[in-house]
Symmetry: D2
Subunit: 347 residues, 4 copies
């Protein structure tokens, strides 16, 4: 976070992410005109120093040309609408930044349409979640050199800066932008492509931890007197090997320090397990956004195998019981060849 | 099914499989002395021509030495007990056949223990399910040459015979035993090893069909007015591609004739889908026996990758909700980094 | 195969599949005008009774209106070109049948374009491979009722007929078309959709067998004196459990008769293993056509998990070394945290 | 790292890990008697302040009772031998610490055998790799309370200490041991069990990154003029979506700061990609140690699904071509049903 040159930016969408971006920009001296479908959200940020804009015309009026407007709204239909309406009120030379979780293929279409009006388009994959306002955001950027170059002061403010991580071994001299936490990845779409893969990796990392903690949690399966958690098979051959009662929250702590599996996701897991080792308040009904799906589709299109990433995606589908019919087919087959009758879970 | 030489056999365990084996042997002229924990089960088969034996001593008395006793009881503890008790009443030169779904590693132990008493041990992986009495059983056999050789007339009767399938291209002359549906796979344990892998493959095949039918069933996901079966993601990008209402029972039929995916499992699936295309009477709570697990463990021990077979096994675990804690960890992480709150299934 | 009414058909593309379809139609009394980029291929089938057509104009001239022309050429660009050129020479009321492995999404586009010219479009997923001419082809058909109805005599000839499989339990009375081996699955695209899923399942089934046979092949990994096939880990903990020398060709035979895993793919595997148990003439460089990929994409779009089918697809990618860079990343990480230096395979 | 009470320790095995442990202990004021099969290795550490011991008798003589000896040698046979020989020279009241990558099941056996001689056994899963001497080691410990309690000063020195990571949200007051980077996980075996799962997770994390970088690397697959890296399928349907040339080393940097996927493994990946973005010096022949295998076996025994972890393990097997026979079976099947002839990679 370092102010080269204070800039002006329009921000549309003041949810968790949009508000966080705005606050980080304000704190570094930039001017941010803010708009949201909720006037209350606009007022709240105005109270923190932003310029309120209750409609797109007002937003445009609040900014000097060439303008830059950051769209931070739900991917898909909402983003489509906002970009289309913005295109009607912006002027040639202005730029639209899509900072949401849009499909990179949509970026290509948007850039093409906007180019006809002389408006530039930049896609920014934005990672950092609710912690970004404080930690800084990791920014993966696609667009033409001139536009990305013009917006650089904004990106430098939003990014965490080089001090957020130890410098990579062998690097010295002037930091490259990636080392500050923002990267011009390539032409339009490149930012959301890299963010897409980032989220695909995220699914894989999360599943790896989740499966591991599940093994630890079930490590008492052989303890005499422990209610068998699974009656659908014969008794364990070696119950003596599964009589551990692990404190998973403590395990998360020890792994956070000095181990090979330390990560920010593990830090968050430690937070959650400290608050509630059994996680009983969760149903385990795991949503997925588009990026995990698109990552697997990209892998298939490219012909590169990503069994871990796709398996992680499918585990989320299964967590929402989207495999129900497949399971019924299995049960029907088992009845067919073996006369096996289903037993209810937990019997 | 062809009687070379009528033989005598003791059969312990008269469930679906044991009764089926007995009937097929009786029909071909063999003498079968039968025992079961249920006297009614013994009486029922006695009424069909078997020699009733209400205890092990009676079974032994009913057979001429050298005897052969087929144990067809649940794998694990029950099989252990029956073999131990049999060892006490049999004589040197007699043979015990374990036809159940035992772990091949247990066979090695049993053979070693029984050898001390001069009793031979043969393991027979027996496939065919409830249909075996009529179709014949596929027999995968482990043991020493002499004992397996002596028991050959039994195996030939039980197996389906060469006519059960067209002869493999390029084979001619005298059929090999495998072509009749029984195979001396190798020394003790070899039969159950091959049966283990057979069941591992079975899991994979079943999952492939089940997943495919699930895709067909969900192929109307883009139909307007169809209740979205999944609210955890954005709307479909291309609903026009998913507006098919497939009759899965008819699809099973067409695949049964001439297609590359024809199989006996598909025949059974067609039966089930004809009776109930929605399979609403099933919960989709899919049990697993030991073989699927042991197959994956064998692959890991050998260092050969079996991603499809193990994935199929894990899908069964997940069908019984054994991944519940892992899913909660995922939800907890998502809340941690993104403030995402779970939505219930179907919201 | 039963001639209701002899019909006329144009066939474009006389490769393995197109020639097989033509021969089966000729044998049942239909008239088939044939075209191919190779005049020799045309002449060869003319010698068997087909009407030769050396260009599309000749093909059209050889058929009475309303015509039906079956396109059996490689999916993608070639099919696109043939359909476009056919559309220029056919007349309103004629029909084009795409019997190749086209993406069902392309069918929707083709049908729409052709409808503007009054030409009907039918998509036929055709399974049966090189054996179809003799066994009959499994036909999965999409299109409007009138056109599919008009073409029914062709489909009945091409399909294997009800005798190709035992009738499903509980079915009686007049056979439904699916039972004859052809099925009108739904509107345009439905045929190729079902064929797509069919091929996706096929990948899963094939992988299940392949992985199983790999376990059997490696079951001697613990035999003393056997060259360790893998030096990258510690010695086996229990070598005594892995000292079997299985004859995989014999195992395939025994599974073909009476077992749960019997299938046509297993029959083919038995053929191959009989000819060459070690399969040394193969490199294991496994191609994939589009359907396997599209199946996984459909699953992802629908939100249904297909871990087994996608894993099977990815194994094919990996067989062609498309995971090479991923593997290098793993090696680089291992060197990074543990100082581990790679050893070459087989060291 | 904080000296409560200087202690004495014997260290057997002075490889990367053993030497690192020794140096960290010496630096904090403990006395370490060192032994190795290489006298040079002993001398080298003696030069840094350790007490040299050229045989086990010397090691025992150098320590006051009750002694503690840390065994840091390769898991399996070497560890077995060292523990057996140590048991012969140690006295009742002494303790053996196995800090290597042993199977936790072996710990149970070792503890039982040693208990007969009055010797305590403690298992310590030790993570940190070559960086541990500087960063501290993450220690996962199994054993009885008294012995673990007595050894606590050693563990506190070796662990990174609480400052190695920000404190978990909601934690305050006196740090628990886990927060210092060492954890008494439970009775004997518990340490290696947790370390086993740790390594299983590590495999999953590594594979997630590797697969993601592979997608990025192949993101130019649609660029005209780019040599197709895969000729086994039809051309891409949408080459315009795959024309990015990503700098993977820069991407690793940007993800290290502020993103959800930041981790120590990513830091190491950034190191490696900075040095060599193409990683051409690696063959991608990825070894696996026992823990990844044991993790999957534990999951199977417990009946909990770990598809991501096991898939990651299998990818390593496949990287060493251990799926070769399975791939040949696939090729043989494809030839069987479709007459498909293999094409070599890269054709």
């Amino acid at each position: 976070m370092t102010t080269d040159t204070p800039m002006q930016l329009g921000m549309i969408g003041l949810g968790r992410m949009g508000a966080g971006l705005t606050r980080r920009l304000l704190a570094d001296g930039h001017t941010v005109a803010v708009n949201d479908v909720s006037a209350d959200a606009v007022d709240a940020l105005a109270a923190e120093g932003a310029v309120p804009a209750y409609d797109f015309a007002g937003l445009v009026a609040a900014l000097d040309a060439p303008r830059a407007v950051w769209v931070m709204v739900p991917a898909g239909e909402v983003t489509e609408n906002v970009i289309a309406r913005l295109a009607d009120v912006l002027e040639p030379g202005d730029a639209i930044i899509d900072g949401g979780n849009s499909y990179y293929r949509d970026d290509l279409r948007h850039a093409s349409t906007l180019a006809e009006k002389g408006i530039s388009f930049v896609d920014v994959g934005t990672s950092g979640g609710v912690w970004g306002a404080a930690r800084g955001f990791s920014l993966m950027i696609g667009g033409d050199d001139a536009t990305v170059g013009r917006l650089t002061p904004l990106f430098r403010t939003l990014a965490p800066g080089i001090a957020a991580a130890d410098r990579t071994h062998g690097k010295d001299g002037e930091p490259l932008p990636g080392e500050e936490g923002w990267l011009h990845c390539g032409p339009v779409g490149a930012g959301h492509f890299v963010k897409m893969v980032h989220n695909g990796i995220e699914y894989g990392l999360m599943a790896a931890y989740a499966e591991g903690f599940n093994i630890l949690k079930a490590a008492n399966a052989g303890t005499p007197g422990t209610a068998a958690h699974d009656s659908q098979t014969a008794p364990m051959a070696n119950p003596e090997y599964y009589q551990y009662d692990f404190k998973v929250d403590e395990v998360a702590e020890v792994w956070r320090r000095g181990s090979v599996v330390g990560s920010w996701l593990l830090d968050l897991t430690a937070d959650a397990l400290h608050a509630s080792p059994d996680l009983a308040e969760f149903s385990g009904n795991v949503a997925d956004s588009g990026e995990g799906r698109w990552t697997s589709i990209a892998a298939i299109d490219e012909g590169v195998p990503t069994p871990v990433l796709t398996t992680a995606l499918y585990s989320r589908f299964a967590s929402r019981d989207l495999d129900a019919y497949a399971e019924k087919v299995l049960s029907a087959m088992r009845k067919g060849f073996g006369g096996h009758v289903e037993r209810p879970t937990g019997e």
